[in-house]
């Protein structure tokens, strides 16, 4: 009872920092998920797996710095994640990648809407755009007829 449990950062109550906190947590999950995507993808798409992972790592680190500058404890990666779908084949790996990029777009659009700081908002717009582009690249790999959507991260 005396040994302190490792402090688990709690989601900040403010809407702006809360959305950024959630987006970082989403990036943690996405980076974990890309490990699964990488394990099950065909070698031909290794370039896209590598580029996407690098993009997410860079984004996560930058977002962590922004949240820390607000004096907020950043979310930690979970020890493990339950995947939204079973992933055993290259096709399922691509499906997971598309889903994760769509989830990322949703999380970053929330940051854009909630941000009170223009730097954070601009960062969110860039992240939203990159998520939409990477999602489109994966849909292109999957051979989708429609590889873009009208409102990435939105419900319009």
């Amino acid at each position: 009872m005396t040994s302190p449990a490792p402090a688990t950062p709690t989601r900040p109550s403010g809407a702006a920092d809360g959305a950024l906190f959630d987006a970082i947590a989403t990036e943690h999950a996405t980076i974990y998920g890309y490990g699964i995507v990488s394990a099950h993808s065909k070698p031909e798409v290794n370039y896209l797996v590598s580029e996407a992972i690098a993009e997410h790592r860079t984004r996560r680190e930058a977002a962590i710095v922004m949240l820390e500058e607000h004096g907020v404890d950043v979310p930690l990666p979970a020890a493990g994640y339950r995947l939204p779908m079973e992933v055993d084949t290259p096709t399922e790996a691509v499906n997971l990648a598309v889903t994760m990029e769509q989830d990322g777009a949703t999380a970053w659009r929330a940051v854009v809407e909630q941000a009170t700081d223009q730097t954070v908002r601009a960062f969110g717009v860039t992240a939203l755009t990159e998520s939409a582009v990477t999602a489109a690249r994966w849909r292109s790999v999957r051979g989708d007829t429609a590889i873009t959507v009208a409102f990435p991260g939105g419900t319009e």
Binding site: E44, Y47, L48, A105, W108, R109, A110, V112, E113, A115, T116, Q118, R121, A122, G124, V125, T126, L128, T129, S131, A132, V133, A135, A136, R137, W138, R139, S140, V141, T145, A146, I147, T148, V149, A150, F151, P152, G153, G154, E156
Partner: protein, 164 residues
């Protein structure tokens, strides 16, 4: 009574400021939304015309982009209606003067996918700037529009970007 008077006084100050500062630097939200609406309509027409003049897989991509830009125009019109209480003009005077001359009425060559790429790039840049300057839902809407335009010109119209 006091509360009411204070609110009136504040409103009075606000409206005087708005009227007096003719050169206030931050453009009102309406300008950003109207610009985005004009661009969405113009891009949709341009992509439609380019699709009609194209062949092969480019037709599907251009048709999809025309539909997406049309959906953007619809969402922006709805937001302008919410904001102002009346509908945006069906065709903006400034936009119709420039875009119809460039995109539809001009007797020059048919627009190509490259023309659409150029238009979408400019629209994406414009929406990105507007999204950063706006707040709340409007910032989110413009952010999604910027993201859609970017994905359209970098991936949908540039297939090599998706598959190597």
């Amino acid at each position: 009574m006091l509360v009411g008077a204070t609110a009136l006084a504040v409103l009075g100050v606000t409206s005087v400021t708005t009227v007096a500062c003719g050169t206030a630097p931050p453009p009102p939200d309406l300008d950003d939304l109207t610009t985005a609406l004009d661009r969405a309509r113009a891009d949709s027409r341009l992509a439609t015309d380019a699709a009609a003049a194209s062949r092969g897989s480019a037709v599907d991509a251009l048709t999809a982009i025309a539909a997406e830009r049309s959906a953007h125009a619809e969402a922006l019109s709805e937001e302008i209606l919410r904001m102002t209480g009346h509908a945006a003009p069906t065709t903006s005077v400034t936009a119709s003067a420039t875009t119809s001359a460039a995109a539809t009425s001009a007797p020059g060559p048919d627009p190509t996918a490259d023309d659409v790429i150029g238009a979408l790039r400019a629209s994406a840049d414009s929406a990105t700037r507007a999204a950063a300057a706006l707040t709340g839902y409007r910032a989110g809407l413009l952010g999604s529009i910027a993201a859609a335009c970017t994905a359209a010109y970098t991936v949908a119209l540039t297939p090599a970007a998706g598959v190597r």
